[in-house]
């Protein structure tokens, strides 16, 4: 069984679906706890939709996202790389989740959720690529 799984998909919604399907298969093959798989699927949806929305527009237009899953000593590490202009999703200010409904912003929740669902979230600009690393303890 491979310890690392890497795939390259178009920066588009169909590409996002392929990543979700692939991570389901990875989770099943590695017998990851369902709650870990669900948390990572939400974080993947947040991070990938950010790239598709802000990076290249809805169509992707030839751009690709590279995603890899690695399980090592009870820690699942997901690395997401894209060649969009520099964009640090973690630099976005957290949304106000204490105000009343009328004053509550509808965006920005994705980053908040990702930070809370994952144990670690990192961003770096690596050469001409954005790299986001998510880490989640699998409890095993």
């Amino acid at each position: 069984m491979e310890a690392v799984r890497t795939l390259v998909v178009p920066a588009s919604r169909p590409g996002m679906r392929r990543v979700a399907k692939d991570f389901d298969a990875f989770g099943t093959a590695r017998a990851l706890p369902p709650e870990v798989v669900r948390a990572v699927q939400v974080a993947l949806d947040e991070m990938l939709s950010n790239i598709v929305r802000h990076g290249h527009g809805e169509r992707g237009e030839g751009h690709q996202i590279e995603v890899s899953f690695r399980l090592d000593e009870g820690v699942l590490e997901v690395t997401i790389e894209d060649d969009a202009p520099p964009f640090d999703p973690l630099a976005a200010s957290p949304p106000d989740t204490t105000g009343d409904l009328a004053s509550r912003p509808e965006g920005g929740l994705g980053i908040l959720l990702t930070r809370k669902l994952m144990d670690e979230v990192e961003y770096e600009r690596a050469g001409d690529r954005n790299r986001v690393v998510l880490r989640k303890r699998t409890g095993s």
């Binding site: 669900r38 699927q41 949806d45 990938l48 939709s49 989740t97 929740l109 809370k116």
Partner: protein, 111 residues
């Protein structure tokens, strides 16, 4: 995705509510609203997980329903879905009940 439920529209999405599927939920909810149905019960028992794309749709629907003087009640959230509502601070924004029966009472009581 929907069923006839008297004067309360019941919407019961299934599976995952994420970037790829939230549009379908939005069309369903706003379809009811467009048909003049402003009392909506959203049963989330069949939902495996929800991302912020789904939360945004529910927030948008809640606002629209509220503006029309209606009511939107969520019910039967599984633990993973409940966790996302809690983590995002949205549990206090929505009317949430444990069961569909309790949610229906909410409409009957008019509170």
């Amino acid at each position: 995705m929907s069923e006839a439920g008297g004067e309360v529209a019941v919407v019961a999405p299934r599976g995952r509510i994420d970037t790829n599927t939230s549009g379908e939920l939005e069309r369903t909810l706003f379809g009811h609203l467009g048909a003049g149905e402003t009392r909506m019960l959203v049963d989330l028992s069949g939902v495996e997980y929800i991302s912020s794309a789904g939360l945004r749709v529910l927030l948008k629907a809640e606002k629209a329903v509220h503006q029309k003087g209606g009511r939107l009640v969520l019910c039967s959230l599984g633990q993973p879905v409940r966790e996302v509502f809690d983590l995002s601070g949205l549990s206090s924004v929505f009317a949430i009940e444990d069961t569909r029966e309790r949610a229906r009472e909410r409409f009957a009581e008019g509170k």
